[in-house]
Amino acid sequence: RLPPPRPRVLLKAPTLAEMEEMNISEEEESP
């Protein structure tokens, strides 16, 4: 029995490279 089809909200994700950049800047900010 399949669940009734229901629209799901697309969760936007940064690319791997963008995540890397965000991660680097977070690390730079933290002492």
């Binding site: 029995r1 229901r6 969760l11």
Partner: protein, 392 residues
Amino acid sequence: RQVTVQRKDKDFEGMLEYCKEDEALLVKILITDMKPQMVSATVPCLPAYILFMCIRHADYMNDDQKVHSLLTSTINAIKKVLKKHNDDFETTSFWLANTSRLLHCLKQYSGDEAFMTQNSSKQNEHCLKNFDLAEYRQVLSDLSIQIYQQLIKVAEGMMHPMIVSAMLESESIPSLAGVKPMGYRHRSSSMDGDSYSLEGLIRQLGIFQGTMCDHGLDPEIIRQVFKQLFYMINAVTLNNLLLRKDVCSWSTGMQLRYNISQLEEWLRSKNLHQSGAVATMEPLIQATQLLQVKKKTHSDAEAICSLCSVLTAQQVVKILNLYTPLNEFEERVTVSFIRDIQGLLRDRNDPPQLLVDTKHAFPVLFPYTPSALSLETLHIPANLGLDFLTRV
């Protein structure tokens, strides 16, 4: 070693609830501080399943920030662990298995019918309710490719120093020991003969295979790893053969053919024979045959040309030029014979370079591999210290 189960599995929905404040601890336990041995006695890819069950609960609660935060922390933590252990095969294999499993879970429970065909009805009930995580699937797919490339790099780095001595210099056929071309002494690039024997190389392949299987890496990915590693064995051995007169002899041809057959036997014993690994060894197999066939008449030349279909004309001629008779009874290959071969191979459209590209990488594919595991039956070992997770 199991968490006490207070309710029957059927009462669980295959989700794990956690407080937002515990996310950092969850990621620390499951990723940053995780050692593959800590979960070796459990279902393979346990961290991936636990993380997915946490994502499911955040999805169920319609909390997009929580889903986003956990996935981002997970991906960043995996990248950090891989960076820290960038020369460790076991860690890299473990995270390749878990990252690709998390990717498969995001597909299997996405609600997309294309990924649901092999699901049980219970698994279909466990599909994500609120969010489409297709963009995160792309990130995890990119990350899996990065980890695969690291895995190959680590394995190649470990195998590279073993290949020449194991394939060309070790004497695995006892009766051939000491049968060397005149004027050459045994040359070994290894400091420790034992560790670089053919047996040592095969033992190393077995360690790679056993580790990847223990971690629950998809068999299709394991096959691609061995195709790539066998390509390197072929390339490094053939390049050495093309540059060294002392190994271009009938006896090395014999020894090498025996060594390749041992590698083929190993692939068969591990059910990896259909991986394409044997085909990558074809140039080397043809080189061994070239060392062993008669090289005298025009019909010998024709036979060599049809035999050496994947060697370039330049490689065939080079091996014939380097060929060194074993003793005074065996003749050197004549200049006219080599000219005959060159004439026969003139029309081949070969690449200009003599040596094989040892760095060539086959494109990797991660075919979708759904799991038969029912999330509601998953048990979390108490020793992981995840008692802040609540089964829902």
